[in-house]
């Protein structure tokens, strides 16, 4: 019941915005500025129909998701491994940290010209941009997770004569997992946002970001809005899954 209530509360503002949007669109009467829902909904309700002779909304979403997952998994795997090593070994961290701090504030899309030269237009450069976006949140929270491990847990492992690898496997990794998971959750959001920018790179022919750009060049604002809605829905759904995973797996967090 209370759950239902929070959901209802969350829906109030979107519904108000949708109604206000529709009223405004009726009074402005220019679909280039504010396309009405009678234009947006058909796009959303026929997700399998080909748009502009290319992929459909559904296919574009799948392609985007696929790219995000690809880049995200690459980034996650590299960042977790590097983060565990940096968090564990201070000397390694001293070498790596300055570089990380320099690269971290660079917006992923600024890599675009280089990405195209190194990884070619299309899949490679897109994945690279997503990779850059997702890498740092995971890296930093992994390092943080290892650093803030309770010393006591490592001592317990030591009193049971754990080898270094056993300590790593049985204490460092599971102990840092909640923090890593938080990093992954942030990273997925960033990756998803980078995607829209990345898909505006030349050399893409599908994907939600591409669709938005294409629709812009054709003045099809209702498709842009539909694309934005899908991006938002996928974003909120993935965040929900991450949160669910967090409460299922790391219920002990903060109560140990």
């Amino acid at each position: 019941m209370t759950r239902l209530h929070t959901v209802t509360k969350g829906l109030v503002l979107p519904v108000i915005i949708i109604i206000a949007w529709e009223l405004l669109s009726l009074s402005i009467h220019n679909s280039y500025i504010l396309p009405g829902w009678e234009l947006i909904l058909p796009v959303l309700l026929h997700p399998a129909e080909s748009l502009f002779g290319g992929a459909s909304l559904f296919e574009n979403s799948i392609i985007s998701l696929q790219r995000v997952l690809f880049g995200f998994m690459f980034a996650g795997a590299f960042a977790i491994i590097l983060g565990l090593i940096c968090g564990w070994s201070e000397p390694v961290n001293e070498y790596v940290n300055p570089l990380v701090q320099i690269l971290r504030p660079v917006p992923p899309i600024a890599w675009m010209p280089l990405a195209i030269a190194w990884f070619k237009i299309g899949f490679g450069s897109l994945i690279f941009i997503i990779f850059i976006g997702a890498f740092f949140p995971v890296l930093i929270s992994t390092i943080e997770g290892v650093r803030t491990l309770r010393e006591r847990w490592l001592e317990v492992a030591e009193t049971f004569d754990a080898t270094t690898w056993e300590k790593f496997r049985t204490v460092v990794i599971p102990g840092a997992l909640p923090s890593i998971w938080t990093g992954l959750r942030l990273a997925f959001g960033v990756a998803w946002m980078c995607l829209v920018a990345a898909e505006m790179l030349p050399g893409t022919s599908a994907g939600l970001g591409y669709l938005i750009m294409y629709a812009y060049n054709l003045g099809q604002i209702q498709v842009i809005v539909a694309g934005m809605i899908v991006i938002g829905i996928i974003g909120i759904a993935s965040d929900f899954l991450f949160r669910l995973g967090q409460s299922r797996m790391f219920g002990w967090q903060g109560k140990e």
Partner: protein
């Protein structure tokens, strides 16, 4: 009774940047098989440090620790129960107890581990909570699990660092009785750090009292009474008062 643990002239200093802290100087004492020994002393005198040296978490600057046949420290088999944060919150009770057994050094089969864990679960009366996570347990239950986990590796001496100090008096008494019962059952030797004279008197065969830092052994007091002890007995009350005085004044 045979000596199981002999400490000879143990000293330890900590050097932090510019400050030197001489924690232990020349600690000499003996622990015998199947004994429950309580270690007491003013706060910060080096009690935990002694346990850490015995468990191998720290090394002494000088002095030696002998086992029963004159072995070195590393070969004396100890396990440690900490005051808090000792359980792994991501492992179930059963997995926590099995933890020490999964180490390569002990190479147990899955079957052996399973049997051992269920024995220990019933020993500490935690059968119903095998698959619970530590944060779902009360403080007393957590310490039962910690004891079971330490016992799993069959230590010759079980080291406990203020194990019950954060529990309420009733739970504490329950767990103290548990320690006595385990000793009866498994013949385990206990070396327990405590700051509670009542606990020392109720539990131990012998109390070792340390001086202020740098710590030496101030006095050893035998408690000859049989178990279970009635704390209202005048002899125990007298011992309680003497121990309290020794610890708080730090001199005889």
């Amino acid at each position: 009774m045979t000596d199981i643990l002999v400490l000879k002239g143990i000293s330890k200093r900590f050097i932090d940047e510019n400050t030197v802290c001489q924690a232990l100087s020349d600690i000499t004492c003996t622990i015998r098989r199947r004994e429950i020994v309580c270690l007491m002393g003013p706060s910060g005198c080096g009690k935990s440090t002694i346990l850490r040296i015995l468990s191998g978490l720290d090394t002494a600057d000088s002095g030696v620790v002998h086992g029963c046949n004159g072995e070195k420290t590393g070969n004396i088999h100890t396990a440690m129960v900490f005051q808090e944060h000792g359980l792994f919150p991501w492992l179930s009770v059963a997995d926590n107890i099995a933890y020490g057994l999964t180490m390569k050094i002990r190479s147990r089969s899955r079957e052996q581990i399973k049997r051992k864990v269920s024995d220990l679960l019933s020993l500490v009366h935690m059968e119903d909570f095998a698959s619970s996570l530590p944060h779902q347990l009360s403080g007393g239950m957590k310490q039962r699990v910690a004891v079971a986990r330490a016992l799993a590796v069959e230590p010759e001496v079980l080291l406990m660092d203020e194990p019950f100090s954060s529990l309420d008096p009733f739970t504490r008494r329950e767990l103290q009785d548990e320690v006595l019962r385990i000793r009866e059952k498994l013949d385990t030797t206990f070396f327990i750090v405590t700051h509670n004279p009542e606990e020392a008197v109720y539990l131990s065969d012998r109390v070792i009292i340390l001086t202020r830092r740098p710590a030496k052994v101030l006095k050893e007091i035998e408690i000859p009474q049989s178990y279970p002890r009635n704390m209202a007995e005048p002899e125990l009350i007298a011992l309680f008062q003497e121990i309290t005085r020794l610890v708080s004044t730090g001199s005889t």
